[in-house]
Amino acid sequence: MSQSSSPVEFRVPPVDAVALETRAAALGTRSIKRAAKISGLKLAVAMMDLTTLEGQDSPGKVRQLCQKAKRPLPARDEVPSCAAVCVYPDLVPEAVAAVAGSGVAVASVATGFPAGRIDRAFKLREVERAVADGASEIDMVIDRGAFLSGRYGEVYDEICAVKAACGAAHLKVILETGELKTYDNVRRACRIALLAGADFLKTSTGKVSPASTRPVVLLMLEAVRDHYLETGTIVGVKAAGGIRTSKDALRYLVLVNETCGDLWMTPKYFRFGASSLLNDVLMQLEKERTGRYQRPVDFSAD
């Protein structure tokens, strides 16, 4: 499993930056109104990994977050639960207890998030611990230092090792596209992660700017689409960081809808990693329902 793969397998078609960005921008002009907007926004809530990844995180903060994820808008039953909460590994037990029985999953970042600059043995230990504590999803970071110095085999090996350590837990591989800088690098990182057995490709930690962008996510969607057509395996995509408005979220959903199609239009295969996005989506849903905008203070600030 952890045998280095030959670099030739990581060769990918080139990416034309201008044309990729043009396509992402063109899809961004779709007009999503009325019923399509409401169903899209509800889907966005269901696809959300509600996230808190701060040094100041505490058990109390995580419990609040979990409550919000379970019932984002308690007075409105038609608003679904979020897909998961995403926390640091030491807070996994707290989160697991708080979401128990709700169907909301607990995702833990791991492998020395966000920089990943720790020994691989510690990374694996961290993953095993988070899984043992009940995390059903692991968001790992790739070794960008190894990637940028061309040691693709090492990146591949490490993902394989983490995947093994995950056991039954789903593995999301964070490419940190803001540090990879070029679309060609992103495309190659996608290929490495796909070959290494990732269950999800994730754009960013949220700690590096730019985080998720629509061209990057379009490129990742094309990668998982082609992987599925080659192998029959569906790998998900998680757009994380920098997505703050309902309009943004709908534009991402358009990318999914028109690139990968129905199979990916589910929380099982597409996620948003976000924190402030949820309240904006709730505000838009309430606006669609009542015809009026509420104040920000009308929504809980978790």
Binding site: V15, A36, E258
Partner: protein, 508 residues
């Protein structure tokens, strides 16, 4: 690369059996987002625009213009006969001395004003163009109208700097210009023709296409609003006979025509030996050349834009795809999948990618050539999209197994029909791309810089796009080789076509 290519080809071949098919269209459907049209009026009847005002035609005749998306008439438009054309040319001739005496700076101010009014009234123009032409509102909104305004802005910039364009020569106006434009970009083509003419100090009689005259007539309202002196621009609407009367008029100093090669040749004969300047922008049968090292997914997008933009009613449309044999199967599969995603339907819906075929006649022409393609043995691929019941429609179409001798590889279809051929070496690609009577545009898709330059040098085409297609800018000259015409529009070369140069040092 080859190992990778083979691998993905094999895998894709496996998926072509249908075992891992993608599905679209049930998980999340967009609601229709129809642009409203109640913010402007269409009159029941439009007259000719001569000498600064709308006047009834001496012919006394009117004809209907139709909304291609429904087949329903929108309104009636005057039909200009020879006497009407005569009156319009006389108005332009009378306005010439006053207009060319104005300083460049003064002419620039009119052009800037026109550009700004076009921007202010952009939504109205976009909607009207969509109604009269059938093209999707997303294109009129994001391409036709903004580019038309850009052409007026751009040429406003040249109006007072003409002497800088031609060092050591003195640019003077050509005189009275007769212009005939096609139906595929009605407003944009009017802007391409009128803006440089006015910047150069000329006056104009323009004939819009018979089937799409409404935005030009509305442009006449903009000219009134901008206070453009009477007679500087005149519009005569009508069919081919009106156009013939115009281009043959003895008082013209120049004719500029955009349209079919057949009519272009006729015009060239008509003006021969009369000392009349001529620019022709005619048909095309452009080739995309896709190499195996191209950014494949982006090349697919570019090919889609190249042929399905504006329903393929584009003289520079990339209607032939030359794809390297090693990636042919992969590319065609991706293209076929992408074609299925093109949203065809109500052109006023903001989510529509492809609108209506412009006319019954054009639809018949497309159908005839597609039937010829099938008959001659090419393999037909068509989007399974549902087409509206009324109006003129044709689904996105691609032919594979096309031979260079097929009619669909040689004749301009002017519709959403792509012909796919293959090549093995760069030399073969150049030979096949140039093996056409036309030479308007070409597209090169490769990641290799040196190869781009090598090819661009050898392609006999007026515009060569690299890793993109159907991109336009007022600063970039546009025009053809061979039977695609001569003369350029846009940029310095375009300005050159609207002045005559005299010897001597300029006063500026």
């Amino acid at each position: 690369m080859s190992k990778e290519t083979e691998k993905s080809n094999d895998a894709a071949a496996a998926s072509a059996t249908g075992s891992h098919a993608l599905q679209f269209g049930t998980a999340w459907q967009y609601e229709s987002a129809t642009e409203g049209t109640d913010h402007f009026e269409i009159a029941e009847r439009y007259d000719l625009f001569v000498d600064g005002e709308f006047v009834a035609p001496q012919s006394g005749e009117y004809f209907a213009t139709i909304n291609p998306a429904t087949g329903e008439p929108l309104c009636e438009v005057a039909s200009a006969n020879a006497a009407d054309v005569d009156r319009a040319v006389a108005a332009a001739k009378a306005a010439l001395p006053g207009w060319k005496r104005k300083s460049g700076d003064e002419r620039a101010r009119y052009l800037f004003r026109i550009a700004r009014i076009l921007q202010e009234r952009a939504r109205e123009f976009a909607c009207l163009e969509t109604l009269d032409n059938g093209k999707p509102i997303a294109e009129t909104r994001d391409v036709d109208v903004p580019l038309a305004a850009q052409h007026f802005f751009y040429h406003a910039g040249w109006a007072d700097k003409l002497d800088l364009l031609f060092p050591g020569r003195v640019p003077v106006p050509v005189g009275v210009i007769g212009q005939v434009i096609p139906w595929n970009f009605p407003l944009l083509m009017a802007a391409w023709k009128i803006a440089p003419a006015l910047a150069g100090g000329n006056t104009v009689v323009l004939k819009p296409a018979e089937t799409s005259p409404l935005t030009a007539l509305r442009l006449a309202e903009v000219f009134q609003q901008a206070g453009l002196p009477a007679g500087v621009v005149n519009f005569v609407t009508g069919d081919g006979a009106t156009g013939q009367a115009l281009v043959r008029h003895p008082d013209l100093d120049k004719v500029a025509f955009t349209g079919s090669t057949e009519v272009g040749k006729d015009i060239q004969q008509a003006v021969a030996g009369r000392g009349v300047d001529l620019t022709l922008e005619l048909g095309g049968k452009a080739a995309h050349i896709v190499f195996e090292d191209a950014a494949i997914d982006q090349a697919v997008e570019g090919v889609v834009r190249g042929i399905f933009f504006n329903q393929g009613h584009v003289c520079c449309a990339g209607s032939r795809l030359l794809v390297q044999e090693s990636v042919h199967d992969l590319f065609v599969r991706k293209l076929a999948r992408r074609m299925e995603r093109i949203r065809v339907g109500n052109p006023l819906d903001k989510n529509t990618d492809m609108g209506a075929i412009h006319s019954a006649a054009q639809l018949a022409r497309i159908e005839e050539l597609v039937a010829a393609g099938v008959d001659e043995g090419a393999t037909l691929h068509q989007s399974s999209c549902e087409l509206p019941g009324q109006g003129f429609w044709f689904a996105p179409t691609m032919f594979t197994n096309v031979a260079l001798s097929h009619r669909i590889a040689r004749e301009e279809i002017f519709g959403p029909v792509l012909s796919v051929l293959t090549f093995r070496t760069p030399e073969e690609a150049v030979e096949k791309a140039n093996n056409t009577s036309y030479g308007l545009s070409a597209g090169i898709w490769t990641d290799k810089g040196a190869r781009i330059l090598w090819l661009a040098d050898r392609l006999r085409a007026g515009v060569v796009w690299n890793n993109t297609f159907n991109r336009f800018d007022a600063a970039s000259p546009f025009g053809g080789f061979k039977e695609s015409g001569f003369g350029r529009e846009g940029g310095r070369a375009g300005m050159r076509a609207y002045v005559r140069l005299q010897d001597g040092l300029s006063a500026g």
